[in-house]
Symmetry: C2
Subunit: 535 residues, 2 copies
């Protein structure tokens, strides 16, 4: 019998849904957990002294501003905001506030620190305030299920992973009845503010809720806080979301480990698929941290496919290859980099709608098959004497392990970053804000702190004949675009190194996340590059 462990959250099955377990009253902590609980977090200096909020210019939208303006008549156009030192605290009103906070969607390391940060801010800047934690996600708002958070309750969760302080949920507030329920809660608890900690869907929902509250003349202001490990919820004013940094570090550790294996055995090929939905930020970051031989950035392939589709539809594909001149230099480089078999698939195979079917193949399985075929060919030619099947391992990092990064203790990066969010609850002028790190390559103390209107991240999608607001996902930027030029630097750095990595031994093994000593303050390479700093 294989030795096994079972963990079920410490709850009997019948209780599991009815009463999610919160509170770590009986919790026993490991040495690492204990050592983190009293860790004092550095703060940007602007938050440690009297400050005031300076408005930037009015904001627009990420796309279709006219439609966004129509969908959000009350909140569209809010200016971005920046915190600057002030002569006295009188710059912001000193009053007791009632604030609600909710965790929405999947877990990401750092959620507990966002809540602790809001709590500490209220304790420090608005004594006598109340912080309500809605339990189990947005459903907690609709059902008015909450707990009043106090020092004792929050304490065991400080700097710890997980979302179990108040638990999360995936419900949405979208029907008129649901909006009504949320209004009732806001009124009943006399909420001055509601902080929604979530990803793109949750922040879209937060924006709708804000519009709704404004429309009903409620005093409750809604603040969004960007949470996603995928890294695709960001804009110039919000350079990153919490979760991304830790996720990339734990993936990079695992990739570094299989690299050591590749080097030690000298005969295995490892294929690693990473999370990230449509965007490849995690892959790009991990590549910059570990230097694999080949990295496939989804956005590059999609660009290439789009260009090939255009060419195949309108041009003659000549044998001499002159048609290739119509590709952008980036796509041409990628095309030439690909093995012949993939080139052929990209040129020939289309489904009835004209799409490349290869896009639907699981990349790593296709790659494994191609390498197998090639090794077998070499074996028959006598240039390879191994057994091709034995030489290939697939490191999928899927199933539960793929979620390991969402659960781990947050890195120092997050402890700090999240505290900024605390300020937003008092920004009476802006109802929707997400923070920004400013030049975060500088010491934490020098970070700038600000927010931007959530509508400025929005675009619309046409669904069932109606415009639906959506937060435009930030993809890996491959070419210089007017607004997002800062995002191009990581790709450019990667492009300048990939050929060298392909043929030389440049593997880097980042090792496990460290909370003390060397590497404990390391920031994401992509973030640093986007901010103009060499990683």
């Amino acid at each position: 019998m294989t030795p096994s462990l079972v963990a079920n959250g410490g709850v009997a099955a019948s209780e599991a849904v009815a009463a999610p377990v919160t509170g770590r009253v009986a919790a026993v902590y490991s040495e690492v957990q204990s050592s983190r609980i009293d860790h004092a977090l550095p703060l940007p200096s602007v938050l440690t002294k009297p400050f005031k909020v300076v408005d930037g210019p009015a904001s627009s939208a990420a796309g279709n501003p006219d439609e966004i303006a129509k969908l959000f008549p009350n909140v569209f156009g809010q200016p971005s905001a920046l915190l600057v030192p002030s002569d006295s605290d009188s710059a912001l009103p000193q009053q007791k506030l009632k604030i609600g906070v909710v965790l929405s969607g999947g877990q990401a390391p750092g959620g507990h620190n966002v809540i602790s940060g809001i709590f500490d801010y209220l304790q420090d800047r608005a004594k006598g305030s109340t912080l309500y934690g809605f339990r189990g996600g947005p459903a907690g708002i609709m059902k008015n299920k909450y707990i009043e958070l106090n020092s004792e309750y929050i304490y065991p969760y400080r700097n710890q992973g997980g979302f179990d302080m108040i638990c999360s949920g995936r419900d949405k507030i979208e029907t008129p009845e649901q909006f009504k329920q949320a209004e009732e809660t806001a009124v009943k608890l006399d909420l001055d503010g509601l902080v929604v900690i979530g990803g793109d869907d949750s922040n879209t929902n937060a924006c709708l809720l804000a519009e709704n509250f404004r429309g009903k003349n409620l005093k409750t202001r809604v603040i969004g806080c960007p949470k996603t490990i995928d890294g695709d919820l960001k804009c110039k004013e919000v350079p990153t979301s919490f979760g991304f940094d830790t996720a990339c570090k734990i993936y990079a550790e695992m990739i570094g480990n299989v690299m050591i294996d590749a080097r030690s055995t000298g005969k295995y090929y490892h294929f690693v698929r990473l999370m990230g939905r449509a965007a490849s930020h995690i892959t790009l970051e991990c590549a910059l941290q570990t230097h694999p031989n080949i990295t496939i950035i989804g956005e590059e392939v999609q660009n290439l496919i789009a260009e090939l589709n255009e060419i195949l539809a309108h041009d003659v594909v000549d044998e001499g290859g002159l048609w290739k001149n119509k590709l952008t230099s980036q796509s041409l480089q990628l095309f030439d980099f690909l093995p012949e078999a993939i080139q052929e698939q990209l040129m020939l195979e289309r489904d009835p709608h004209g799409n490349v079917q290869v896009a639907k193949i699981e990349t790593e399985k296709m790659l494994i098959q191609m390498v197998e075929t090639d090794l077998e060919k070499r074996r028959q030619e006598g240039s390879y004497n191994g057994n091709s099947k034995d030489s290939l391992t697939f490191s999928g990092m899927k199933e539960d392990v793929v979620y390991q990064p969402t659960l781990i203790l947050p890195t120092a990066m997050h402890w700090v970053m999240l505290l900024e969010h605390s300020f937003t609850v008092e920004k009476r002028g802006d109802i929707i804000g997400v923070s920004r790190l400013g030049i975060c390559a500088a010491p934490v103390e020098e970070w700038t702190v600000g927010g931007t209107a959530l509508t400025s991240l929005m675009d619309v999608e046409r669904r069932h004949g109606k415009f639906k607001p959506v937060i435009k996902k930030a993809m890996v930027e491959l070419e210089v675009s007017s607004d997002l030029a800062y995002q191009v630097h990581p790709s450019r750095k990667f492009a300048s190194l990939r050929k060298d990595w392909a043929i030389n031994n440049r593997y880097i093994s980042p090792g496990p996340i460290q909370f003390h000593g060397p590497a404990s303050n390391a920031l994401s390479h992509t973030l640093l590059l986007e901010l103009g700093v060499q990683a």
Copy 2:
């Protein structure tokens, strides 16, 4: 297209087997890797001053000593050895030595440190000595493929994971021709000693090689060094092998992470299968580190099955349950702890040979199915309102991820432990030695250092009508046995806590392995308990 990474060891396919890549000349290091490279390792104080070797009583074997004595006439009965301070270095001869070292079998974190330790010892205690690293495992000995290890070559591997300094291999030296090849290499290189770093098979092979060299009157002495992450290669004098500590820590981190998920979502059951072959040391250690609700120790189930087989063969199984009195208290406790369905399977189902077929079922799949069935039953009774299928996740930690622990940077535990092995090369009296940690709960400086005869770990198995020597695997000890009483303590501690863990929230999340600050010096719970220290 899903973003992916590929790592192939930096070698073209045609080179992969012919010329394993060694050397990290072009390697770029992460901050964590760099910070470890110059890390000074603490040494047991006996190794820092003049010492001499004191012999213990003559050794026997782990089983069938008469057969072992026949199989190893030249090396059987070697005494154990202990290093003690001496007035002067003259206690041990100061002469130049020629030593070979080989990595054998799968990877375990710490291998590079064993080699560095031997090298440093020679530099320090026997100036002018030569250390040969045989490449690619035992095949390197047979083919006389080696490199001469020097400071520059070893430097980049210090305190780093992997086996790529000289690479490993799974070949065995077992036929007369192969023994002849090994002899030729030993003679050609004029070897005074050969250190075989490997698991139970490799150490059995080392013992056969030693017997062979002695029989041929070669001067070459063979030293075994215990490497296995499974923790089943140990005895009283050799409390642990390298690899186990790091492996358990990385598993415990992952288990702690899914525990946080269980607590955060309040609705998932996680089932985790761990490595360990027949022995459950890893599972027991991880349980003591993390406190899961249920832990299944393979040895307990095997004991219970053996007792049930006896009872079913010779006794009447009465409905009143009086038959249960024939079970040992341990087995009775386990039997009563098991769900009814498993109890029935254990009582009823036997294959044609009378064995319990349930033992062949993958435990975690069986458990998932049982929980699914039970939740479905509760749902129909109205005491559970979730969807049972959705509430179950299987955290297999298998495929490549299961090997992550073999590849990670070694913990501090190993940096230290492995240095002890260096002394053995000069123990002219004992040809086979493995080190011991002594009371390793004490500071490293106070650790005792010694070795024991490899034949003392040996037993025989009857194969094809002949006795084959094998190292007796150390299983998790459940009952007090005369010789291995020290091994019982971890099980006893576990038994005293498991009921509490089953129903209360006692999860512990150890977090990632730390090299600095809190938890960086934590030792295995099982090891501490075996040494009589409360973990």
